[in-house]
Each structure stands twice: as C-alpha cells, then as structure tokens.
Symmetry: C2
Subunit: 416 residues, 2 copies
C-alpha cells in the first residue's frame, strides 16, 4: 500500500491517559485508537496485525480438523440460568441490556453456554463425536478498571475453541494435542521463547488446568518457572498439594520468579455444561450420556499487546515476521526526477507478491520517515534515494538490528 493514502499519522507525544507501554506505542504508531477505557478501534496497520494473528491460529486449528463458526454477542438469559452463570453475584463482569419487550439479554463474556446449546441441534449419537468448533469473536467484559491497554479490554477479540467428546479418555487425548498446538501457535507469533505451559488451579471448571504464561514486566500474574526443566506454576497455585497431585518432587526443580501475562488457557469442562443444557449422545447400545467438553482460549488483542510489551525498543515496536502489518517498508527519499525509479521498484515488489508498505510521501523529511518506520516496526526497511541510485542500489536494514547494508536492486529482488 502507498503510505500517502494511509489516513493515520504517528504521534510524537505519549498519550497522557495511557499507562501501559502497549497502548502508548500502538497509539503513537497509529495502530489503535481509544474510544473509551478498555475499548479500542483497530486502525489499518493495527487491523492487519490482528488479522495476521488470527490467520496463524486459524491455520493451526484447521490443521487439527477444527471448524470455524461465528456466534453472537447478544445472549438469552435462559441458557445462562441453566448453568448458574446469569447472576451478577456469580459472574461480576456481565454487560446486560434489554429487548423492547423487556426481556433481559447479556453480552457474551465467553461462549460455553450458547455453544453447548447449539450443538444439541447436531449431536445425538456417538457417531456425531468428536467435534471441534472455534470462532474469532468479540467478547464483552465489564471490567471495573481497564488500565492495561489492549491487554485487558472491556470489548476485545478472542479465539475460543470448544471440544466435544464421548468421554474423559477421548477428551484427554485431544487436550494433550492442544497443549502442543497452542505452543506451536505462540512460537509462530514470536512468543515461544518466553511462554510457559503453566499448571494452575482449574477454577471454575476443574481442580487443575493449564495456562500459557508469557514473561513480562507488564504481567498481572507471577510465575514460578524452571526454564531448563520446562515447568511453570502460577504463584497463586504454588503449594505442596499441586506437586503431590501431579506426582512431582519440588526439590527436583530450581524455580525462578517473574511477572507474566496469561495469553491462553485450556480447560477440561467435563459434563458441567452438557448436563445443565442437556447436550447428550446415545452410545452404540443406545444408552444416553452427557457429552464431555473442553474449552480453549487465546485473547487475540491480549496477544498483540503482549508482543508489543515484550518486543519493542525506544524507537517503537518490533513485530515478529509472521504478524507484522507489512513485511517490507520501502521508503523513497527520491526527488521529482527520480520518483519514477522508486515507483518502478515498488511495482516490481508488488508484482512479486511482496507484502510492502511504500512510503511515497513527498512532503515529509527523511528523518520523519525513518522515525515512522521504527514506530511501525516492519521487519525489513528498504530505502531508495539519489545516493543509493547512483549505484543502482537500495539500503536495507532489519528493524531489530542497527546494521544497514547497500545492495543492488537486482539483489533485493532476488532476496524477495
């Protein structure tokens, strides 16, 4: 895309009403706009990152035969009453609203209930199982405070997957698969090195569950972890009982302690929701059982915020390659008589299918162009100017390295 068309602008000043680094950097770079605390609009570059994160997750979930749907925000009271989660005394972050006829509705903070209720249409026999269904959907949570930028929103994008199996045994096989799938996703998203599969108390669904925690000073959790032995426990749950229950010996490990962000979690739900909502199947002898469920969630906007928190420098964001808004930031410093040559390189890159943002702005100083580029955090910067054109070259620089390199335009095309 041509940067001259981009309606957003970068800001020099740090927004005064934002205390989190992720919101500060994303707003300064023009990736998001705050509508109200915890409620953010995704602007063109930010939306591209959000979509790229979704696409990585979609690929990995489709690879294990999960199917994508899209459920609704508006929720009927009845199904949540059946599971005991309608009351504000039980769930303290509902947003609720009212139909013209006076009926109360909720705005979904999660989707176990509508998912189990919907599956009743399609599951009746053991032959219908297993089934794996996911979505990318806006969740609404009426947080008392929202000070963590896009990491804890009142309205935010989430990926939630629900699994339906005949019994615990079949569920457990898939649950183990999901531990690997999630770690693969977080690795592709650039968070693999500092993300730990973490034992935690499984509230509200079971005695224990697993979270994925990423080390970061911006985290609200505290993690105890042994990097070498690849074990991590949420500090809240760090006690002798958990070691006993998992058959581990505490003395075998050397735990470090650090702040961390919960970026995903996987739950064994058992038959809690299927029993409450009457989601059952008949086995081969026509005996009826409740379906065994699991749920698996990744906060998309929280992941995006976590990446910013853990991958930036003083000049701006440093996006991992897989989710960067563009792969190449092609910056022209050419004056009028050489603009055609810059245009030609841009068109050749486009023709090669390179995902490129072209800074074709003619009224902006080189210093501002470089500053914008650093704020955007696109992995590869390619500069063309009168100087580089003397050698039929361009200057290339990785966002995460100070080194620049002059290479011929032909070499640039070969590398793409």
């Amino acid at each position: 895309m041509r940067q001259s068309l981009l309606f957003t602008k970068t800001k020099k000043e740090t927004p005064k009403d934002e205390t989190s680094i992720n919101a500060q950097l994303l707003i300064k770079a023009g990736f998001v706009h705050k509508d109200i605390a915890g409620v953010y609009t995704y602007l063109p570059l930010g939306l591209r990152v959000l979509n790229n994160i979704q696409e990585v997750i979609r690929q990995e979930l489709n690879a294990v035969d999960c199917q994508e749907i899209s459920m609704t925000a508006l929720q009927p009271k009845e199904i949540w009453e059946k599971t005991g989660r309608w009351s504000d005394d039980v769930v303290d972050n509902w947003f609720k609203t009212t139909l013209k006829n006076g009926n109360e509705l909720g705005l979904a903070f999660t989707h176990e209930e509508p998912m189990a209720n919907m599956m009743k249409q399609f599951v009746s026999s053991y032959k219908d199982l297993p089934k794996l269904v996911y979505q990318f959907q806006t969740k609404f949570r009426n947080e008392l405070r929202a000070k963590s930028g896009i990491m804890r929103g009142r309205e935010f994008m989430m990926n939630d997957l629900y699994s339906f199996h005949t019994d615990e045994e079949a569920h457990k096989v898939f649950y183990e698969t999901m531990k690997e799938v999630y770690m693969k996703i977080f690795t592709r998203l650039g968070l693999g090195k500092n993300t730990f599969l973490t034992m935690s108390s499984g509230q509200p669904f079971s005695k224990y569950s697993f979270e994925f925690q990423t080390l970061s000073d911006a985290g609200e959790d505290v993690l105890l972890f042994d990097r070498q032995k690849n074990i991590a426990i949420n500090k809240d749950d760090f006690n002798d009982q958990i070691f006993t229950d998992f058959g581990l010996n505490k003395d075998d490990y050397t735990f470090e302690e650090a702040k961390s962000i919960e970026i995903g979690d996987i739950y064994s739900l058992g038959t809690k929701y299927s029993q409450a909502l009457d989601l059952t199947y008949a086995d081969s002898e026509s005996k009826v059982h409740p379906v065994y469920m699991g749920s698996y969630g990744i906060g998309i906007s929280r992941v995006m915020g976590t990446i910013v928190e853990t991958s930036h420098d003083e000049a701006g964001i440093i996006w991992p390659k897989e989710i960067a808004p563009y792969q190449v930031h092609f910056i022209s410093l050419c004056q009028d008589d050489q603009k055609d040559e810059a245009e030609q390189v841009y068109k050749t890159l486009q023709a090669k299918g390179v995902d490129v943002l072209f800074d074709d702005r003619s009224d902006v100083r080189p210093g501002q162009k470089f500053a914008d580029s650093d704020m955007f955090g696109i992995p590869l910067r390619v500069v063309i100017s009168a100087k580089t054109l003397q050698l039929q070259s361009v200057e290339v620089k990785q966002r995460n390295s100070p080194d620049t390199e002059l290479i011929s335009i032909i070499e640039l095309m070969n590398r793409m």
Copy 2:
C-alpha cells in the same frame, strides 16, 4: 474440506418458528443457527458465504483507495449527545448498557459519530483530505419485531464506509463513483440484474439520497421502476416533487411496481456530524472549515438473505459463483474397494487449488447426499461412483441446471 468432519447436519423439517424463506433454507442447510429472534450464529458453510461477500466488497473498496479499520460496539454517550442521537426518543432502536461506575454506554447501530470523532486525531489540514475509511462490523439494533430471518437482524454484519472531503464539490465526485462501485459489487454478488439505484428521500441526512433496491417478494419496500430506462423510485417518495427536483418528466417513463429489499444506501451527510463533533480542517489560507462527510452502507447478512430469497428452488439454495461456500461439491458414492480412487481425485483437486467440499461420508445413502448437495447450493456437483469409474469418468451437474454430463477425470481436471 471433508464433509465427514463437518459438524452440521441438514434438516428435513422446515423450522416452525421461521416465516422467512431465507431463514428456513439457511437453517435447513445448516448454514445458520438461531440464538434468539434476529440473532443468528453463522455455522461453517454460512460463515464461508459471509466471508466471501465481505471479500468481494473489500476488493472493490480497496480498488478506490478506501482503507479498512474495525471500530467498537461499545459507545460513549457523550459523542452521540453532541449530534442529538443519544435519546431513545430520537433513535428508537438503541441497545444500551451500563459500566460498573454507572456510566451509560450504547451498542453501535451505526458509526458516523465515533468515525467523525476518531478522524479528529488525523485531520487538521486540507492536505489530510480526502480520506475514505470502512469497516465490516457487527451492528446492534433493538428491533421491536424480527421476522425476516437474517435480512433484519438485531445483531448483524454490516459494511460501512465513511468519506471525508473538503467540500460538497469534491464529495459529489466520490459519491458518483460510489454509485458505480456499489452496482459493481451487487453485480459480482449475483444481484445485478434485479437491483436498482433508487431515488429516495434522504432522511435523516439530506433531502434526497440513493438506495439500492433488489426486487423480491420478501421485500418490505415497494419499488416503482422502469427497467428499460434504468430508473427507480421508492414508492414512499414517488411524487411530483421528486421529478421536479431531479429535472425529470414523469411521462417519459413506464413504471412497474414490485416489492423490493433495500440492500445498500449511500448518503451525503454534509457537515452535520463534523460540525457537531468539531471535525475541521484548515484550508491553504489557514481558514477553518468543517469536513464534508458521506456514509455508504451494505448489510452483509441482509445481502446474504436477499440472495437466498432470490436464488433458490424447491430443493434448496443456488449460490452465485463468487460467494458460494465451495466451488465444487465432490460426492463419492464409491464402496470400500474404490475409495482410494475417489481420494485420489479429491487430492488432485485440492492440489490444483480448487475450492472443494468432499462428501466422503460412508454411512450416508446416495439420495441423502444428492439432497444435501442441492440444499447447500454449491455451483458444481461432481459425482464419482462404481458406474462412472468403469469409464474413468465423473458425472458433473451445475446446481442451476437439471442436465448431467459424464466426463473423463482427465477432462474434469482440465476444466478446473
């Protein structure tokens, strides 16, 4: 995709609680699931159609340099008070909710206000204009009744574009462009033949505006149109004044009358919102003016419902090619000893990049497979069976034609 993985099932019975053809056919085919009246979950095949419609629109809007963002459902009261649209006496279909601190929020039924408010961050000079910004976003409308299936939802997907120009003259040029862009979009969506650019009273924004109306018995509007002279007027606005105002002579036309569905509209907003929200720019002489706005909307789920209403037969839906959930429905009737050959054809189709749904189910009768295929409405059906394999062939059939044709597997691949 393998149909054996698909968790949805077709239904024989017409759902009793749905009076609209679109909801009946979409639910029977397993494309959508009703959560509450006017609130539908999009299941795997339905979501694919919805995404395909969005992609057509995205391509056409990007082609005229529009930029995609994603705004929020939760809306602060303040900006809507400034334009006079917060009160339930003015806007009677708000869903409202409340923050923990007691502040009221609305759920966006449209986005003129947040869009104009957000643009203040990025527009200050005439050099920042024009700007064209769009989104695909869930809208919430507290309809008293919701009986038209996915055509009039309480929660539904909309594409809304907003234009920002220096003055009416510049706006008008883009407004004329959008008439053509929208008609191109509706043509690609298979609705071109029966969709009319329609003069209507421009409430709430200006004296006149234009709608896009598609002829259908399911419509809530009545259209007066002259197909030959390509003119159409909403019956509500059909009076002498409109002819006078547009400089037309009523006697020059022969009007037919028919029911129609409003699938899109384009509005000149003038400076109503920019003045109320203080969205201004300085001209080259530093004189400050309010920005001239336009808004342009297509109801994505309404378009999907309209296509079903206008393109189906007794057996099910007939999707236009560009938005069908899959391009090819490849149905295997092969028994165990010939399954490998069907698998081989499926894999070859996939390798060629063909968008194919493979009915690999082994426990389903041929009659049910054909019935399902007709309900799904995929443009091309390809059947492989012991009989066709005797001639190394497959049987192909277009969804919208009764004719079948036996062609060699080699010929099938050549056609793809």
